[in-house]
């Protein structure tokens, strides 16, 4: 069996560019790997191999005609999509029963951009239903498992994205992050995940969950690969009025700055939030953090304490704002224009029966919570107050960024938990996002990079851990530079899961 599926994006484009392999062979290697391991991992809900082969053949024609990766940076690279992004002619279910046999009539902007860059875009990756969850267990269709330990969850909501990259089915996948849904599964599966600044990537063609928090971003095996793909999908789009008309820097050349010398981060200041350091942190996560801080100091960075005084209120703020926005966004699933329908005597009964049968428990919980906090008499006490606390949280970050270039945190309070461990206790599940949700509330950028493993214990293999770097608004260049220098000084990104 070909080993092309195990290559990083950079390695694969190198081989394709030197004509040492074809895009068709690279795709076939990915499809073979999916056939070999996805019966166990279950990252993909479906994939259209014929459509993918046609794209790979087109990429091979481009390569034969002399098109280079300077012109099309993803030429011939397999890229898989979370089931929340519109891909013309393909199913889109958001891992929910309510969408029935829906097929997208158009491409999301990110899909257009990936295709224009030459990528071979295919597959529907499993997720928590409508991206609501932290374990991919709320999917109405299947349970995705962690490639490092098949008794554990891959994280969520983009669990299929993380698991597909961690088991070398694809070098890159594209997910969405509303409160940590890219960074948390990336950490738990030992890969790199990026949440760009709010407004950096167009959300056109992304099924909306919480519109003021949602952002699309990549999963990859290295920071370099993730930076390249972030550059490809970023940029202003007139079809998303919240996309920010600001030029997209060349993120790869930003990495070069970190290239030379033994102290590539000299002059960089990193912040540790004192509010994140108090108690409750898993001992192995804490040890990995301390080792990472020591590494950053060796790399020349200065590490100082910063304060984010409203951190303790982030989860409560998030679980008002996100459900409120979701309750409005998911009103469109009413049984009228698309998806499944349960008939009723009048439209209201048809709506209620359709939504009662089509939505799973977590989605119902959040819509009802969101409806309540927006309802007459409670709006000021919950929603408006949460928006004000959001201002304070954002202010905390902007003040911290006056002193530091980026903030360091663990991505998650612990390694991947067992299937079923938290699925009956929604509040505990919500609190597993404690380090990632502030980033979305503040609208800043964030990345998770592998930073070590738990020690293997009786019956439990070693499990990956992630380090989160939070960057300034539109500060992706510096964030990637810091993450790349760290990654290159550690062995963690070269470790591959047993399913690879």
């Amino acid at each position: 069996m070909s080993q092309l599926h195990r290559l990083t994006l950079a390695e694969l484009t190198g081989r394709l560019g030197r004509r040492e392999c074809s895009a068709t062979e690279a795709l076939q290697s990915s499809l073979d790997q999916i056939a070999r391991v996805d019966g166990e991992v279950r990252a993909f809900m479906s994939l259209d191999a014929a459509d993918a082969r046609a794209q790979a053949e087109a990429a091979d024609r481009d390569l034969a005609a002399g098109v280079t990766h300077v012109q099309k940076p993803l030429l011939g690279v397999p890229v898989a999509l979370k089931d929340v992004l519109a891909h013309r002619g393909q199913p889109l279910n958001c891992s929910s029963k309510i969408l029935g046999t829906y097929r997208s009539p158009y491409d999301a902007t990110v899909v257009e951009r990936l295709k224009a860059a030459g990528a071979v875009v295919f597959g529907r990756l499993n997720m928590d239903e409508f991206a609501m969850g932290s374990s991919t267990e709320t999917s109405a269709f299947q349970r995705t498992l962690n490639p490092w330990d098949l008794t554990r969850i891959p994280g969520g909501s983009s669990g299929g994205c993380a698991a597909s990259v961690a088991s070398a089915m694809v070098p890159v996948s594209i997910g969405s992050d509303t409160g940590g849904s890219i960074r948390q599964p990336a950490a738990l599966c030992g890969v790199v995940g990026v949440k760009p600044t709010y407004g950096r990537v167009s959300r056109y063609g992304l099924t909306a969950f919480a519109s003021s928090l949602d952002q699309i971003g990549p999963f990859a095996r290295t920071v370099r690969d993730a930076a390249l793909v972030t550059g490809v999908v970023s940029g202003y789009d007139r079809r998303d009025s919240t996309s920010v008309p600001q030029p997209v820097p060349d993120y790869l050349s930003a990495l070069e700055v970190a290239g030379g010398g033994s102290r590539p981060l000299a002059g960089i200041r990193l912040g540790l939030a004192k509010e994140y350091m108090i108690g409750g942190l898993d001992a192995e996560v804490d040890a990995a953090m301390k080792a990472s801080v020591a590494r950053f100091i060796e790399l020349g960075a200065e590490v100082v304490e910063v304060s984010l005084p409203h951190s303790d209120y982030a989860a409560a703020t998030y679980y008002i704002i996100a459900p409120a926005e979701a309750s409005a966004n998911l009103a469109r699933f009413d049984g009228v224009r698309y998806g499944a329908r349960v008939e009723g005597r009048d439209p209201a009964e048809m709506n209620s029966k359709t939504r009662g049968a089509g939505f799973g428990a977590e989605v119902k919980r959040r819509i009802i919570l969101g409806t309540y906090v927006l309802s007459s008499g409670y709006y000021d006490a919950y929603y408006l107050r949460a928006q004000k606390v959001r201002t304070l949280i954002r202010r905390d970050f902007l003040q911290a960024f006056e002193k530091v270039d980026a903030i360091l945190t663990p991505t998650t309070p612990s390694a991947a938990f067992r299937v079923g461990e938290k699925s009956e206790d929604p509040l505990q599940m919500y609190l597993s996002d404690v380090f990632t949700i502030s980033c979305n509330l503040a609208g800043i950028c964030g990345i998770s990079v592998p930073c070590g493993f738990t020690a293997p214990k009786l019956g439990v293999p070693r499990l990956p851990l992630g380090l989160q770097l939070l960057g300034k608004p539109f500060g992706e260049e510096t964030m990637f530079r810091i993450a790349h220098a760290y990654e290159q000084s550690t062995p963690w990104h070269r470790e591959v899961s047993p399913m690879s």
Binding site: Y198, G199, T242, S352, R365, Y382, R385
Partner: protein, 93 residues
């Protein structure tokens, strides 16, 4: 949250729940509302609300006609259609 009436709010949200679901979701939402009540501790006097991290105002685009989604494509996922329209249950007698 003694005044949280799951039956009433689910009706507002147009989600039909079974009695068992009402009981389970109601209990869970009670815990969640208890947790988020901690926001009452925060002094928000004089603080402006943030609706968006990077509010853009007066976002316009050139007034140029473009090819829209075709009628057929727009109806292609309809659960029930007739004569180029979406069909819903009768609204008025």
């Amino acid at each position: 949250m003694s005044d949280f009436n799951i039956h009433y709010v689910a009706k507002l949200a147009r989600i039909e729940l079974s009695p068992a679901e009402e009981e389970k979701l109601g209990t869970q939402l009670g815990h969640i509302l208890g947790y988020i009540a901690k926001l009452k501790e925060v002094d928000v006097t004089g603080v402006e609300a943030t609706a968006h991290a990077f509010p853009l105002v007066n976002v316009t685009r050139p007034d140029v006609a473009r090819e829209p989604l075709s009628h057929e494509a727009a109806l292609s996922n309809a659960p029930s259609r007739s004569g180029g329209l979406f069909v819903v249950p009768k609204i008025v007698e």
